[in-house]
């Protein structure tokens, strides 16, 4: 295997926005800017671990009301039926739409949960120096970043249903308070994944002192 060195150990940093490799003095007190796009350069995202923790904890707190409160209220001929995220999945199963039920279940429950757990594992690995395979950790991070957006599915469904089923007293669908909490969870976990610096996973690897 060829000798792999990190940009940091060579006195360089790649621009976080345009990925240009620039000369860099490893001192965050000195403001240095990318000559190509003008973004402030950092060898690692500043306070990446702390910021990610903060966003994750807030997201976890929002995830509770998101699941406990109704996300949607269906009123048919005067009867209000509120349903939670999980309740929506159960209804789909009762109607025999197993495929769609699985998609909604994965997108709105499994994905946010796995994102939270996955990022916590990565953060603990970095802070406690857990010996986990760096390649697997990076794959997990990439996965977390990729699937995060799919959680927005339920929010879009509710928006569409609220616009579509608006037939006065006959049938109405309205959003419930969980929609706000769930939207916050999705945005916060996405921000957490963006704030997390995957280069930290590799910092303690061999070949880099």
């Amino acid at each position: 295997m060829m000798d792999i060195r990190s940009a940091r150990s060579l006195g360089m940093a790649s621009c976080s926005l345009c990925h240009k490799l620039c000369r860099f003095v490893d001192d965050d007190e000195i403001a240095q800017y990318c000559p190509r796009c003008g973004t402030r350069l950092h060898s690692r995202y500043p306070n990446s671990v702390v910021r990610t923790w903060a966003l994750l904890i807030t997201a976890a707190i929002c995830f509770l009301p998101a699941n406990l409160y109704p996300i949607m209220v269906v009123s048919q001929l005067g009867n209000d039926t509120p349903s939670t995220i999980f309740g929506g999945v159960v209804t789909l199963v009762h109607h025999g739409a197993y495929g769609i039920a699985a998609v909604v279940f994965i997108a709105s429950l499994v994905v946010p949960f796995l994102k939270l757990i996955g990022l916590v594992i990565l953060l603990i690995k970095i802070q406690r120096g857990w010996h986990l395979n760096a390649n697997q950790c990076t794959s997990m991070y990439r996965m977390i970043e990729f699937i995060g957006r799919w959680s927005m599915l339920d929010i879009f469904v509710i928006a569409l249903l609220a616009a579509l089923v608006n037939l006065g007293a006959v049938a109405r669908i309205e959003a419930g308070p969980a929609a706000t909490a769930f939207g916050l969870t999705v945005v916060l976990t996405m921000l957490a994944a963006m704030t997390f610096d995957p280069r930290l996973i590799w910092d303690k690897e061999v070949g880099d002192e």
């Binding site: 345009c18 769609i100 928006a159 608006n166």
Partner: protein, 252 residues
């Protein structure tokens, strides 16, 4: 290669020839890759850079088509509903307004951003940048616009929305009869354009244009593709482009 050599080279040669993986920070020498190929980090497997044929013109064509499709996609109904003799239909914009009118302003803002605003601004800013490059018009604001495009990346969620449309239709099936609106076709077209745009855009090349303020050299057919090997049909494409350029010059 000894590490000291890497450092010496990296510091004394043109920095553009070296790059660092943005997911594991490993430093590599940038190597010429064939057109339509991608370079991945040998350590962590992250996508490093790509080589795309004629990236500016192709992406511009796609983003312009996307912009044209945007208006019918937003204004025409996506799905319609018939129940007990009453009918209703929903557009992208109506979905946002429905949440807003119910008092869920934050959620409605989120839906507006992810399904309408971000995809539109992404296409618009990319179009402006690519037009500026095609016209050899380099200004600081073109750079800022491309920077802005980078910042928005990841927040446009048209593909998720499409699945959302599908889920809504299934949820309504036993309650009413649902039909697809014209807007959905435009929406799918716009989604396709944005997906093809990500496939045809070589951001590194665009940055190089913006950095140097010059056009990419049109490969000379006689000089052959010695430095950058162009396999299969791409020699022909390059030759054709060259011929077109010659023709244009003659006409003038």
């Amino acid at each position: 290669m000894a590490t000291s050599d890497i450092r010496q080279n990296a510091l004394h040669q043109d920095e553009g020839e070296w790059l660092a993986c943005h997911e594991c920070d490993a430093v590599f020498r940038k190597q010429a890759i064939d057109v339509r190929f991608d370079a991945y980090c040998p350590r962590c497997g992250c996508h490093l850079y790509a080589s795309r044929p004629d990236t500016v013109r192709r992406t511009l064509a796609l983003s312009l088509t996307g912009l044209i499709l945007f208006f019918p996609a937003v204004l025409l109904p996506i799905i319609g509903l018939d129940v007990l003799g009453m009918s209703n239909s929903a557009t992208l914009l109506a979905a946002v307004m429905a949440l807003f009118n119910e008092g869920y302003w934050w959620t409605s803002f989120l839906v507006l951003a992810c399904s309408i605003a971000v995809p539109f601004i992404e296409m618009l800013s990319l179009t402006v940048v690519l037009i500026a490059i095609s016209l050899d018009h380099y200004n600081p604001w073109v750079k800022s616009m491309f920077k802005f495009w980078h910042l928005l990346k990841g927040w446009g969620m048209l593909e998720v929305y499409l699945i959302g449309v599908l889920v809504s239709m299934v949820k309504l099936l036993d309650m009413a009869s649902v039909h697809i609106g014209l807007g959905l076709y435009a929406f799918i077209g716009m989604l396709l354009m944005t997906l093809l745009m990500t496939l045809s855009l070589d951001t590194e090349e665009v940055w190089e244009f913006l950095e140097q303020g010059i056009h990419a050299p049109v490969p000379h057919p006689e000089a052959g593709s010695a430095s950058t090997a162009t396999p299969n049909g791409d020699d022909q494409v390059a030759t054709e482009r060259y011929a077109l350029k010659e023709e244009g010059l003659n006409r003038r």
